[in-house]
């Protein structure tokens, strides 16, 4: 065997090496091409929406963002109503979802016995795996009736008479509407937000916590004054990640928001969101201006979620870097 290797002509080895070099170059170009494909995909998506939404922006100008009209028959479109619905449902989702996510993360990392941490964490993450259309069906057929029978009448009776904030809780208990959508969205973002929080809580140096305990801090004081301040950036990053999801969530909201072109102060009222408007109307939009207006709404959603997700990513990267250094 060693004889065979020794008798191997030098030229063959040289050719082999050169073959390898050529192969390496080709392989490099292939993987680079695929990598760049990912980069191009995002820009192509953005460009296609700008391209298609251009007609709407040119026709309606800045008024597209501020007008309330949405009339396919009269060919007049403007985006304030769906934008408002998107913002209000997302805000409700954050108000409800963030404290619950924080509680879950604290419970899993600080309170629960080691043996049940994994199963509880896994169960909560299971929520993220359920397809969003299932949330929609559950929301429409089970949760909305529950809201209209048990929750909304109580809210209307108790909070309705209070001045100023009472206006948020007036009207008929329909079940569907802004509040129900906000709650369903909150349930959907909880697994994402709480798993980011849990992961960063776990890397808080034990010495930091131990020294606080040594000074006589209670468990909650350690969480409030050591764990959360130490992981602030990543916690906010996780919240932004959840916000990005809430803003763009389509199917669940389409089921429970009511899809009426309507702005109301009361959270009990139905409305619409950008994603729900697109889901309901895009396939039927026959003429160019209608379709362009929907694409323009899509572009607005895309830009907003891009900014939110980019901010989330930057904050999480900064935290990871801190941890690494």
């Amino acid at each position: 065997m060693s004889e065979a290797m020794a008798s191997l002509p030098a030229t063959t080895a040289g050719v082999k090496r050169r073959d390898g070099a050529a192969g390496d170059r080709i392989f490099y170009w292939i993987v680079l091409g695929c990598g760049l494909f990912v980069l191009v995909a995002l820009f192509a998506a953005a460009f296609s929406m700008v391209w298609d939404g251009f007609l709407a922006f040119r026709t309606f100008g800045f008024g597209f963002l501020t007008g309330m009209e949405w009339d396919p028959v009269a060919q007049r479109f403007s985006g304030l109503v769906p934008i408002y619905g998107t913002l209000v449902t997302s805000a409700l989702a954050m108000i409800i979802g963030v404290p619950v996510s924080l509680g879950i993360a604290v419970f899993i990392t600080e309170v629960a016995p080691r043996s049940i941490r994994g199963p509880i964490g896994g169960a909560i993450e299971l929520l993220a795996g359920i397809p969003s259309i299932i949330y929609g069906m559950w929301g429409l057929f089970t949760f909305a009736p529950f809201m209209s029978d048990y929750v909304q009448p109580v809210l209307i009776d108790w909070l309705g008479p209070i001045p100023i904030i009472g206006a948020l809780f007036t009207g008929a208990p329909l079940g569907i509407g802004m509040l129900t959508s906000g709650i369903v969205l909150a349930i959907m973002i909880i697994p994402f937000v709480s798993s980011v929080m849990r992961d960063v809580f776990l890397v808080v140096p034990a010495q930091l916590k131990e020294s606080a305990y040594a000074l006589g801090s209670t468990k909650w004081e350690v969480v409030r004054d050591i764990v959360i301040p130490h992981t602030r950036t990543a916690v906010v990053g996780g919240i932004f990640l959840g916000l990005g999801r809430a803003l763009g969530e389509t199917m669940a909201v389409t089921f429970v928001l009511g899809n009426t072109h309507n702005i109301a102060v009361s959270l009990m009222e139905p409305g619409t969101s950008i994603a729900a408007t697109l889901a309901n109307e895009f396939a039927e939009a026959s003429d160019d201006l209608y379709r362009s207006s929907l694409s323009a709404l899509g572009l607005i959603l895309f830009v907003v979620t891009f900014i939110v997700l980019a901010a989330a990513k930057l904050m999480l990267v900064r935290m990871a870097r801190q941890r690494g250094e």
Binding site: V31, C34, L102, W220, T250, F282
Partner: protein, 285 residues
């Protein structure tokens, strides 16, 4: 004095107890909703299950009977198409990130964009593929649906391939390269083999994710009431059929929607739980 500081201490203890109890309640709330959603799907779904679900086509409005056979087939075809398109691109792009972009700005940029695509609203992908495929060919089609799913599939595969390859110790690369093996052979024969289980898990997770996607199919594949294997035509698929049937006023349609929802949720959760379990077991070793 002692009693005073004692009462402060007790108050802080009580405060801590209340806060931590609230955390416990938050966890219970999360678990209750999980159980509630799964229970609803199970109850409605099981009562609507029947053999005709997979043997008959979607029924016309208001008619009894019927199943979802064409929709299951359509979903299967589109998911397979997405996997065929996006797996090679995703694995190779992930390879670029982990093996060829160390310390380069372009790698950072691609990783950033990939993470954005990973959480971007899927309905935006639907709009994009509408412009890309449906408009030029001027018809909704199974191809368009598969391509839309491929764009959602891609970033998951890129990310897991990147992460799994980076877990392979550098010693392995160095040992292989020091034998004079070309880099591409090292990557294909050694690194891919070492990371194969992880990459496969990523692909399974991605399949779970696209199997339940509805929004991007609403205006790419649309729907079709009949049995069709022609991917250049509009194509029935489970998520869109569930959406239409659940929103309809017909009880039979709603029942079928629940049956479809049950089957889809079961498949998606089995895929994601199963692949996660494999991954966790490997990581624990």
């Amino acid at each position: 004095m002692a009693t005073h500081s004692g009462s402060i201490y007790r108050r802080r203890q009580i405060g801590s107890m209340i806060a931590l109890s609230l955390c416990g309640i938050a966890t219970v709330v999360g678990l209750v909703f999980l159980a509630w959603i799964l229970w609803t799907t199970l109850i409605h779904g099981l009562s609507a299950l029947s053999p005709s679900l997979v043997t008959e086509m979607t029924p016309p409005p208001g008619e009894d009977g019927g199943g979802l056979a064409n929709a299951f087939m359509g979903s299967l075809l589109m998911v397979v198409l997405a996997v065929i398109i996006a797996t090679p691109i995703g694995v190779l792009a992930g390879t670029f990130l982990s093996e060829f972009s160390r310390g380069k700005k372009i790698g950072e940029a691609i990783r950033f964009v990939n993470d954005i695509l990973l959480s971007a609203p899927s309905i935006i992908i639907g709009l994009f593929v509408y412009e890309l495929v449906v408009r030029p060919t001027s018809r909704f089609s199974g191809f368009a649906g598969g391509i839309a799913l491929a764009f959602i599939f891609l970033p998951v595969v890129v990310r897991t391939t990147d992460e799994m390859l980076r877990l392979v110790p550098d010693v392995m690369r160095e040992a292989a390269l020091s034998l004079g093996i070309p880099r591409w052979k090292v990557t294909v024969n050694i690194l891919y083999r070492a990371a194969s289980a992880g990459i496969l898990t990523g692909i399974l997770l991605a399949i779970a994710r696209i199997s339940g996607e509805t929004a991007p199919l609403l205006f790419t594949a649309l729907n079709n009431q009949y049995w069709s294997l022609d991917m250049s035509q509009p194509m029935a698929n489970i998520p869109v059929v569930i959406f239409q049937f659940a929103m309809s006023p017909y009880e039979q349609w709603q029942n079928l929607a629940w049956a479809g929802a049950f089957v889809m949720t079961a498949i998606v959760l089995l895929l994601s739980v199963g692949s996660r379990a494999i991954l966790n077991r490997r990581n624990a070793k």
